[in-house]
């Protein structure tokens, strides 16, 4: 052991510069791998094997299993948002005739898609990462690779297709629930008749386009990000926990960033009326 003491140790750079550099390199490597998972998923969607059973199973897992959770949370979100909007309107113009129309426009253009997708990111993203992560830890993914089967084709692609469809469906359903809950709240708290509240005059093609493109983008982002986090699991059972955490945080971040990008794009394309 005398040898080890005499060998000069390499000079380690310390301090904020090193930390910043390490963080930047990590971010760059993570981004590149995420991009590679995305591209390979798209490739297998076109050229991969057709496995309808897996996609349907995932649709059940992602869609039907989340229905209750999405209904509850979106119902409460609808009540909160409508109540806050009413309070806000009360301070400036005590006129509730346009409350429903404005609320519906915001719901269609942004809130239903973004808040619904944040809920799905926790429920679906955590599930995907935990499932794929435990497969990695128990070496089932290595077994797939040994059989010359790409885990992205077998594991990520079905979830990707299922999530794109089911996220859109669940968000449309969530928007209906949130609007109904909002109408009930407005009726009880501010005496707005339901007929006045159900006013679709402010919805136009631009709002629908932005809302639906958000649904598709979030539906694609959640399984890709969580699948990537699941596949990069390491370190046994504890690693699965970390992978799940990272999947939830990164999917939520992806949703918020995509929201800002798509909203800005929508504002520039359709203008601010």
């Amino acid at each position: 052991m005398a040898n080890a003491e005499t060998t000069p140790r390499p000079v380690e750079a310390t301090g904020p510069v090193r930390d910043l550099g390490a963080a930047a390199i990590d971010l760059f490597i993570g981004g590149r791998e995420l991009y590679s998972v995305f591209v390979r998923t798209l490739y297998y969607v076109v050229r991969g094997r057709r496995d309808r059973g897996a996609v349907v199973r995932q649709m059940f897992e992602i869609g039907n299993r989340s229905l209750f959770f999405v209904s509850i949370t979106m119902g409460f979100i609808g009540m909160i948002l409508c109540y806050q909007a009413g309070l806000q309107a009360k301070r400036v113009v005590p006129d509730y005739t346009m409350l429903g129309a404005t609320y519906l426009e915001l719901l269609v253009r942004d809130l239903a898609a973004s808040l619904g997708a944040l809920m799905l990111a926790t429920r679906v993203g955590a599930g995907i990462a935990a499932e794929i992560g435990s497969m990695v830890v128990t070496e089932q993914v290595d077994a797939l690779r040994m059989c010359a089967a790409d885990p992205i084709d077998f594991l990520v692609k079905p979830r990707f297709l299922a999530s794109m469809v089911m996220t859109t469906v669940l968000i449309v359903w969530g928007a209906v629930i949130a609007f109904a809950a909002g109408a009930a709240t407005a009726n009880v708290a501010f005496d707005v008749p339901v007929k006045t509240f159900c006013n679709m005059s402010l919805i136009d093609a631009g709002d629908l386009t932005i809302g639906l493109s958000k649904c598709v983008a979030y539906g694609a982002a959640i399984p890709i990000v969580s699948g990537y986090c699941g596949l990069s699991t390491f370190g046994g059972s504890e690693g699965v926990g970390w992978a799940t955490t990272r999947a939830v945080v990164n999917s939520s971040l992806a949703i918020i960033i995509l929201n800002a990008i798509i909203s800005t794009g929508g504002l520039l394309v359709f203008g601010a009326k």
């Binding site: 959770f69 955590a126 939520s252």
Partner: protein, 271 residues
């Protein structure tokens, strides 16, 4: 086996009733477990002197709060920008540039900043905490503590409980400020509202301390829910390594649902 064949098969209705009942019993078990845990933590905190492990508390505060800063910064800046983008058509429609600050500020301070910060912290800190406690339970480290006559609640759970609540409160304060900064500058970039008139809209008297306090009270309540859910599911982990994954999933889902339900109740009570 003749017994099983003789018994009439349960009808569809009975199956549905059984599933519904099981779901309700599950929810009652979770809420009850969280209540008991809360009682135990409170009994440690209000003992004299408080039975909380200070070094562990400091370690957890560093791990939970300081390490979460980057995601809170990113979330808050983008949230502010999104609030302005959503308010932009309304502002243009009524030509009310001066109201942009008030409109974005009202939504951000009262609702969006506490809510989104809570969701991010629940994903990052709450889930992490469950994974940690769950791994300790599965590898019997908690039993080892009990064998050494160390109280796991005072040593492990109470510091994490306080840590999560303090973290969420501080992060919400921080996110409030950053979201307004993001809103002011994206308002300038996208619809040419000067940051100065944004600031005037914020401070012209339509917003008061009550709105900020409303959001902060919410963040305390959210912190309580996230802390209880994450500690409860972590300690209730069963069934080895896959059980840890299931607990983490349950924590995230329960925290999100709890945050939304309580958000509604707090909004309604505070008015």
């Amino acid at each position: 086996m003749s017994d099983a064949q003789a018994a009439p098969r349960p009808s569809r209705l009975e199956n549905v009733a059984a599933a519904t009942g099981a779901a309700f019993i599950g929810i009652a078990e979770t809420v009850g477990g969280m209540g008991v845990l809360f009682g135990r933590i409170v009994s440690r905190l209000f003992a004299f002197p408080p039975r909380v492990d200070w070094p562990e508390l400091k370690r957890n505060l560093y791990k939970m709060a300081v390490k979460s800063l980057p995601i809170v910064v990113v979330t808050a800046l983008f949230t502010g920008a999104i609030m302005v983008i959503q308010a932009a058509p309304l502002v243009k429609r009524y030509g009310a540039e001066g109201l942009l600050g008030w409109g974005a500020g009202f939504g951000t301070l009262r609702e969006v900043a506490p809510l989104l910060t809570a969701l991010m912290i629940s994903g990052r800190v709450g889930a992490n905490n469950t994974a940690e406690l769950g791994t300790m339970v599965v590898t019997e480290q908690i039993d080892a503590l009990r064998t050494l006559a160390i109280d796991p609640i005072a040593f492990l759970v109470a510091p994490r409980f306080i840590g999560i609540i303090v973290t969420l409160f501080c992060m919400t304060l921080y996110a409030d400020g950053l979201a307004l900064l993001g809103a002011a500058y994206s308002g300038y970039g996208l619809i040419q509202v000067e940051p100065q008139s944004f600031y005037n809209g914020l401070t012209s008297g339509l917003l008061n301390f009550g709105d900020v306090a409303n959001g902060l009270v919410k963040s305390l309540v959210f912190g309580l829910v996230i802390a209880l859910a994450s500690c409860h599911f972590g300690l209730a982990t069963k069934g080895g390594a896959p059980g840890v994954g299931r607990s983490v999933n349950a924590t995230v889902v329960a925290s999100a649902a709890g945050v939304f339900v309580l958000d509604y109740l707090v909004s309604f009570i505070l008015g």
